[in-house]
Symmetry: C2
Subunit: 414 residues, 2 copies
């Protein structure tokens, strides 16, 4: 299957790496619990560092705790980088994040073995705290450090659930939090990230691999509808101002709107809290969060307009007070067309049936896009599951993804 | 306004009693916080006992802590009883419960003064823990003791939030919990309870008083819809089994059904809990409670049928698992037609414009109905508010209600 430009991937070695890394912080059999800067995280990075060292790469840790492994380029210049994050959800699976690091190492090892040293520097990166699973407000911590998006104050204000600061956690493993600014890089030519899909699109399309042309825009809007709290028995229906009725109508309308727009639009109401949340009391208020996503910036903007109009109309008609607060608004991240082309030609020339799709989840790539062109490879997820010990991708699909990645790295670095 | 059969009510004394009783356990200005067997509750009952003693009544406390005050009947026989509960919500207002005790005392005092001793025994009762605000599973505790609906085991298993048993609370104020069975009575000929409406029906009808012809049936059904938990970004709309979408549709349909039935049907979804209740996760399940009420037993049964059919259809169509569990099911309590007639003629001959209505809330009367005929008088509630320090009824409306009660007590006991 390989041609001159496509290295042979060591399938057994990939499987061995998945199992070895999955054993560190193993949880509920097939899961892992490996939060940033924890003992399990330190051990996992040490194992990756050891593998990279044995592969002849130059290994270093940066000021944020990201692990880098580099093959120097015979012609120098900016680096071609691949990797992903090594932290997990609590618990997560073996593949989310870790697979991108294993893929980069398998690809770089194969390229070096089959084609010798690259023309341009070729690097692997193991990124830190993508999930925000230990420090909820520190999502993409490692990739944000690389692009300079960590303010000095963050070091003190970012805390975990028990109140401990991220600065203390960094210091505990020998990092100097005050120096996190030194993790910044401006010498990256391209970043390619392989990741599990985390959704069912590839499974339903019956394809092993996708090339990601965009990461979706995500907006979280916190909404409160307020009516009048009253006795559930003594208040006739016709005299109520019931925010639960307004919430139900709004939720149906918001969800139906995403259905009408069709893929890739999604809208989720995942959390809601009535007050006082008592069975025999007409609630005073219902607070809920709208998670709305679309990879096309114009379509996302239009979606938000429809949502606001719909909520205003329902609240006004029902005599409810409406409060809307945008909690965050991540813009869409478009992949670099040149990198998408490189990945797609790699798939084509190796006979790997890849589709093109947008990512509905956020990834480190969207942070690194601030300093370099990016693109991603998705590998089919069984049942579309992720953020659970049940997540699974077959070795065949994984190796197909690594081949697509390796072929593209060859075209960029050799 | 009074005729031969209608005593003159001492309006100033009624106002004084409302303020004096409202001062015991006073909370947030106009509210009260007076839970069963608490020091405030003991003080309030002592004050009522003192008033009754001064009114020439024979006062006693029963084994449950209910306070009874009796005017012997010249011809003996079973007693005509009026009263309500003296415990409050946390906090409640001055009127919910307490007003029924004040009304009974004002009526009996006036009857004795204007007409001498009654032919039949005439009693006032101050009932214990109607609200269940201190002991959540002990609602109607005092009236249940009177009708023999407290099992011996309840004494040990009924606890307050901090774990203390109701037996300990009773013993603390000198009651012997083992003797609660002695509170039972089978010598009551009729029970008339005056209570604030707790809803806005009288206010909207512009009437001071209602005669209650039924207390509604109440059913609480706990429902869980279970779908598939997935990533809010990575899962396309068309592949979701989202229990929040099912919950929203069901809630709209349940509430709309009560609107279509019209008064007196009501349906409330006051509590709901998605799991895991995270903004970026399609929930695995949504659990909620349906509070459905109708005073007509046949209409209530039909309503429950429609609810079940509707939930089964929505769950099946959306591929959701449905679990329904009836938490409790209080049947409707129909007022005694003779007592309703006595109250309505009393209103008519005193020129008090009373409407007839069902109670959407539960009351001690529905417990006492197990041993005697019952009926109720409702007094208009400002804004329909109750279970809040804001609850309020005007002195004019209160006195109108007491006149209706007193006239009926005259026709029954004299």
């Amino acid at each position: 299957m390989t041609t001159d430009r496509n290295p042979r991937i060591d399938v057994a070695e990939v499987e061995r790496m998945i199992l070895s890394l999955g054993a560190i912080g193993a949880h509920l059999g097939t899961g892992v619990w490996r939060t940033a800067y924890s003992p399990e995280w330190v051990t996992a990075n040490a194992l990756v560092a050891d593998w990279c060292h044995k592969a002849g790469l130059t290994v270093r840790s940066d000021a944020a705790g990201n692990l880098w492994a580099r093959a120097e380029g015979t012609e120098g210049g900016k680096a071609i980088v691949s990797g992903s994050h090594i932290d997990s959800q609590c618990p997560g699976g073996r593949y989310d994040g870790a697979l991108g690091i294993i893929a980069a190492l398998a690809a770089i090892t194969a390229l070096k073995r089959d084609f010798g040293p690259p023309r341009r520097p070729l690097e692997l990166v193991s990124l830190c705290e993508e999930e925000g699973s230990r420090f909820p407000t520190a999502g993409f911590w490692g990739s944000r450090a690389i692009v300079g998006k960590i303010a000095q104050g963050d070091i003190e204000t970012v805390t975990e659930a028990n109140g401990g600061s991220i600065a203390a956690a960094m210091a505990h493993i020998g990092l100097d939090p005050a120096r996190i600014g030194e993790a910044r890089r401006d010498d990256i030519a391209a970043f390619l990230e392989l990741h599990i899909e985390q959704g069912p699109v590839l499974e339903h399309a019956n394809r092993p691999v996708a090339v990601v042309d965009a990461i979706t825009a995500i907006r979280h809007t916190r909404v409160t509808l307020t009516g009048e709290q009253n006795h559930a028995g003594a208040f006739p229906m016709d005299l109520r101002r019931d925010p639960m009725a307004g919430f139900a109508e709004a939720t149906s309308a918001l969800i139906d709107h995403a259905h009408r727009l069709g893929r890739p639009a999604v809208t989720t109401i995942g959390s809601c809290l009535p007050y006082p949340n008592a069975p025999a009391v007409i609630p005073r208020s219902v607070t809920f969060t709208i998670d709305a996503r679309h990879p096309d910036p114009a379509a996302a903007a239009k979606m938000h307009e429809v949502h606001a109009a719909l909520l205003h109309e329902i609240a006004a008609r029902r005599g409810l007070e409406l409060k809307m607060e945008v909690q965050f608004d991540h813009p869409a991240c478009l992949s670099d067309p040149g990198l998408v082309a490189a990945l797609e030609s790699s798939a084509t020339r190796q006979g790997i049936p890849a589709i093109r799709m947008a990512s509905g989840a956020g990834h480190d790539s969207q942070q690194l896009a601030a300093v370099c062109p990016v693109a991603m490879v998705f590998v089919r997820s069984a049942g579309g599951r992720s953020h659970t010990p049940e997540e699974f991708s077959t070795l065949d699909d994984i190796v197909a993804g690594i081949r697509v990645l390796a072929g593209a790295l060859h075209s960029l670095a050799y």
